[in-house]
Symmetry: C2
Subunit: 345 residues, 2 copies
């Protein structure tokens, strides 16, 4: 069965009405709206068809209709018209992101804050993956008691640090310098992924057994680069979600807060989106976790001009003002890319 023009406009009216009011939409409301000159009874017939096709449901007999995930999906894919940001909005975003002298981490947090403020939902930002960043600089600082502080800087200026516990004696100062120079020189410009590979290969080679400095260098750097690093995720504006009527009962609030506290799931979710380009929209629990039932996710990646660094987005109820949020996510991702793009060749 095909959707003709009339059913399309009725579906659209239902979805937009529901997005605006949060209430189920009845046939009367649509008929009175007057755009299409139809009686409530006719609208009812069409609604009945739409329900059969799975685009809408009625929560109970005497309520109006509400879009299903399938309905939203359809709406987003074929009827959604995103608006542009006003210049004031752009400016607001710019000034809030561009405060100079920010740590990268702070910058990402700000971006999350912006997303949440502009959308009135929850903003999330996934920090650049450690393994996909590019090597730029490494430095060792001895602490006491056989502990060594390692500072690692990626090409894009992201700083990571780690304390490693040394068994036995700390390397001498000049030895450390040698190692530092060696690593800085030989890994320069490689991705961490590649660095890992190289470390592992070299460790297997004979040379490493005899060259004491090389052995040291490999031992130290493997501590830093091999092994997992937790990804960092910033969540801002969780409280916004709790103001949404769909989460106003205490059980769903609890569920939602718990879901956001389980950052691991969210990270996985955002991670999956990294391969795609442009703004992505995930609706309902379609491809997501149970915990985020009733929620939709709008994401985009940010890059350094060449490769994807991380992703960011907005989580809101499925009944989200998609047309408002999409441009915000898009613009913020572009802005972040622009800021992080100013980097060393």
């Amino acid at each position: 069965m095909e959707l003709n023009e009339r059913s399309l406009s009725i579906l659209e009216a239902i979805i937009e009405g529901h997005i605006a009011s949060g209430e189920p939409i009845g046939s009367r409301t649509i008929a009175k709206q007057g755009k299409l000159k139809l009686s409530p009874a006719t609208v009812r017939n069409v609604m009945s068809d739409l329900e059969e096709m799975g685009y809408i449901v009625s929560p109970h007999t005497s309520a109006g209709r509400v879009p299903t995930d399938k309905g939203y999906r359809f709406y987003v894919d074929s009827m959604l018209q995103v608006r542009d940001l006003s210049s004031e909005e752009r400016q607001w975003i710019d000034t809030h992101c561009n405060a100079t002298g920010l740590q990268t981490e702070q910058l990402l947090k700000r971006a999350g804050h912006i997303l949440s403020r502009m959308s009135r939902y929850t903003g999330i930002v996934l920090a650049p993956r450690f393994s996909s960043t590019t090597f730029r600089h490494i430095e060792f600082l001895p602490l006491s008691q056989g502990r060594l502080l390692v500072i690692f800087v990626s090409q894009s200026g992201v700083v990571q640090n780690k304390i490693i516990e040394m068994e036995g004696d700390l390397p001498e100062r000049h030895e450390l310098e040698q190692v530092t120079n060696y690593l800085n020189h030989s890994f320069s410009g490689m991705t961490i992924e590649a660095v890992r590979g190289q470390i592992l290969t070299q460790m297997r080679e004979e040379k490493a057994l005899y060259d004491k400095m090389l052995a040291r260098a490999l031992a130290l750097s493997s501590e830093v680069f091999v092994g997992e690093v937790e990804d960092d995720l910033f969540v801002e504006g969780l409280a916004n979600m709790l103001d949404q009527p769909e989460f106003s009962d205490s059980n769903s609030m609890r569920r939602l807060v718990k879901a956001f506290e389980q950052k691991r799931n969210l990270i996985q979710l955002l991670d999956k989106t990294q391969s795609a380009q442009g703004v992505q929209i995930y609706i309902g629990s379609q491809s997501q976790y149970q915990d985020f039932e009733g929620c939709s996710l709008i994401t985009a990646n940010y890059t350094n001009g060449k490769q994807t660094l991380g992703s960011l987005g907005v989580i809101g109820p499925s009944r989200m003002a998609y047309s408002q949020v999409v441009p915000v996510v898009d613009y913020t991702a572009r802005l972040l890319s622009r800021i992080l793009h100013k980097e060393l060749e």
Copy 2:
């Protein structure tokens, strides 16, 4: 009017009963409990006195009594017996904190997690204040387009980084080296507070006008050290709070989540506790913010052996299992101090 022994035990019974059950406690319950051989009527008389003195209230006519903030305060100050941690509990905490190779930041997050897990409430950890850390090492890395990445390491191994935007040309490589050496040499071992002072004094002196290197050094370092740095706060286990019956209605949930999202207030609150020693208990909104009405805060500072670095604690409902939580906060603070104490002389 004085509290005699009998009223004391009744007050104690009310408070401990209420902590255990969450319900208002009636005269009957206490009489039946049998510890003090009294009839409900007698207990009622005493309760009436206690209410008059402000230690307890009844939420409505036909409910039992509930402790007031004053009641809790009294209980905590003069009757509380904290238990010791079992060796399993200690061990659990140790293993969860001691995973080596953690960034300091991660360590603090873990501590927060531990606090929340052990207490079943919400754990908070305030990161070391930037201004009270001790200078150890600074390093400049040029990025593109007049931007400079500054990495700063404190004595205790905390790494901060900042990108500064240079007006005009970037310093030459050898110049940057000179500056780095100068700063590392002359600020070594000073607190950031002191460094700030020195920078400001030196900038006023004539010498700075003529020595180009010095001028450069001061300009750069002032960008880093002068001006505010946001303190970092980790909140873990927010969802635990929402499982408490006192916050089970959606309004107080919302209020609470919002309160926790306003990190600034929390930071101020924890900041105030920094001057005190040992475990501190703040009850109700006594000295706190409206938003945390009905909550209590148990905190302790962590140190590097010489000076306070930051503080941590647990926020729970006023009806908190104080005797269980106090030792957890205490032990975690000590553990953190011990870990961070392993530092360079």
